[in-house]
């Protein structure tokens, strides 16, 4: 049976992990490769690096991080942030990323989803959607949530998939950082609207929140940062909890 995936996300700025990851076993918690290895050893199902480097001059550092991670961690690795065109995507895949996550660039130029999916396969094109509730629907935001668009999140998810997205990474901006749980309704609506897997993101505060969005939200995977980074819970604890809730997990 296909397992529900638990995916830690590391924010990387100028080649360093930000938001202070606290692994007791790590001497340098700012080293993304060391953090990736620690999660690999804990049994994380995949890993996401989000490159939040502002300046494109510093991009080569991210390629080095990805190369080193891929040579030491034999698990799926997704990289997002700053990928604007097919050339950027190709370089990141060649550095060792298995998938790339596109957000603002895909909204500015939806054909980028099509072009990159045709070139590299749907399986490696993740479209990330930052959604914020407005009445009975959800709007899409870009630029890390700073700019509103006129897109409806459900319609945009459907369009992204029709263009070739192999997976949707859905972040609720209302819930992100609140630690009060994922937006279960948004996740369920999107998951029921598209054929591809949906990764829920934003709002995890405890392990029951993971269960809620995987069960009621029909998510295929959960992305979480702080509940794992700060050592509140380990990946094995999370999997045990999901297993007790009768969700399929890889132990």
């Amino acid at each position: 049976m296909l397992a529900k995936r638990i995916i830690p996300c590391l924010d990387v700025h100028d080649g360093r992990v930000v938001k202070g990851v606290k692994f007791q076993e790590l001497r340098d918690a700012g080293d993304p490769v060391a953090c990736a290895k620690a999660y690999d050893e804990q049994g994380a199902d995949e890993l996401v690096f989000l490159d939040i480097t502002a300046s494109s001059d510093e991009r080569p550092i991210m390629h080095k991080v990805v190369e080193e991670t891929a040579s030491q961690c034999f698990m799926p690795l997704t990289v997002g942030g700053g990928l604007r065109n097919v050339h950027n995507i190709r370089q990141m895949l060649f550095s060792g990323a298995d998938k790339v996550s596109l957000n603002t660039a895909a909204i500015n130029d939806p054909k980028l989803i099509l072009d990159s999916a045709v070139k590299f396969g749907n399986q490696c094109i993740v479209v990330a959607i930052d959604a914020k509730r407005s009445g009975d629907s959800w709007g899409v935001f870009t630029h890390g949530g700073r700019k509103a668009t006129d897109l409806d999140a459900i319609e945009w998810a459907k369009k992204a998939v029709s263009l070739g997205a192999g997976e949707i990474l859905l972040t609720s901006m209302d819930c992100d950082g609140m630690k009060t749980g994922y937006d279960v309704e948004l996740t369920r609506r999107i998951s029921e609207s598209v054929e591809v897997p949906v990764i829920a993101s934003g709002g995890a505060g405890n392990l029951d929140h993971l269960v809620d969005v995987l069960e009621d939200g029909k998510a295929d995977a959960v992305l979480a940062a702080s509940i794992f980074h700060f050592g509140e819970y380990t990946i094995p604890q999370a999997k045990k909890h999901l297993g007790q809730a009768s969700l399929p997990v890889r132990l």
Binding site: A3, K4, D45, F74, P76, F94, V118, Q123, E167, P197
Partner: protein, 210 residues
């Protein structure tokens, strides 16, 4: 002496993870773009992600199809991964592509229906169908997990090819083996210790030619 493993590069994306995994299990790696470069390699890996049509076109352009048929006929070790497995069969439902025809059978797509996510993406278990396979040394027969990402699967005519099956709302063939050929739908290079075990078993099964 280290085993020498050649990995076929026919212009399809990322070979790095396959290369890393083969190195990790202690073999020497050579990336090859034509049959001439394969030389006296002890084993050959046919990787692949993306679309099958591009995969076959890439192999044809690099003149690999007849070479691979000869390689298998001589019972030299071959490992196919993902599209590398699908390419070995006669034809695919994916744009009606004609495959290499190393084995009889078709490549089929998972049938769309409400609630079933396609691609089949993530960790799933492979169940061993052959009791004594050297490729499964050190792995659990019933529930070894591997990482999958695919929308198509192979349906071999000869059921004795089937090494493992996997359940995704229905049972499909997740790996095949025949003699010195092994091919997996899952990605061993992305499957942590279980995946490295597969690479190690494949490399162990390759004989030093010199």
């Amino acid at each position: 002496m280290k085993k020498r493993i050649a990995i076929i590069n026919y212009g399809m994306g990322n070979l790095r993870s396959v290369e890393n995994a083969v190195k990790q299990v202690g073999a020497d790696v050579r990336i090859v773009t034509s049959p001439d470069e394969v030389g006296e390699a002890d084993g050959l890996v046919l990787p692949g992600v993306g679309a099958l049509q591009d995969c076959i076109e890439g192999l044809v352009a690099a003149k690999f199809p007849d070479f691979l048929k000869g390689w298998v006929a001589e019972e030299r070790p071959l490992l196919g991964v993902c599209l590398g497995l699908q390419a070995m069969f006669e034809r695919s439902e994916e744009r009606d592509v004609k495959g290499l025809g190393l084995f009889a059978g078709e490549v089929k797509r998972f049938k769309s229906r409400p609630g079933l996510k396609i691609p089949h993406m993530g960790w799933n278990q492979a169940k061993l169908c052959k009791g004594d396979s050297p490729y499964w040394n050190g792995l659990d027969d019933e529930q070894s997990s591997f990482y999958f990402v695919h929308s198509y699967y192979v349906a071999p005519e000869d059921e004795s090819l089937i090494l493992t099956t996997t359940d995704y709302e229905g049972v499909f063939t997740s790996s095949i083996s025949k003699g010195n050929t092994l091919a997996c739908q899952f990605h061993p290079e992305k499957s942590q210790s279980n995946g490295l075990r597969i690479y190690a078993n494949f490399v162990d099964n390759c004989k030093n030619r010199h």
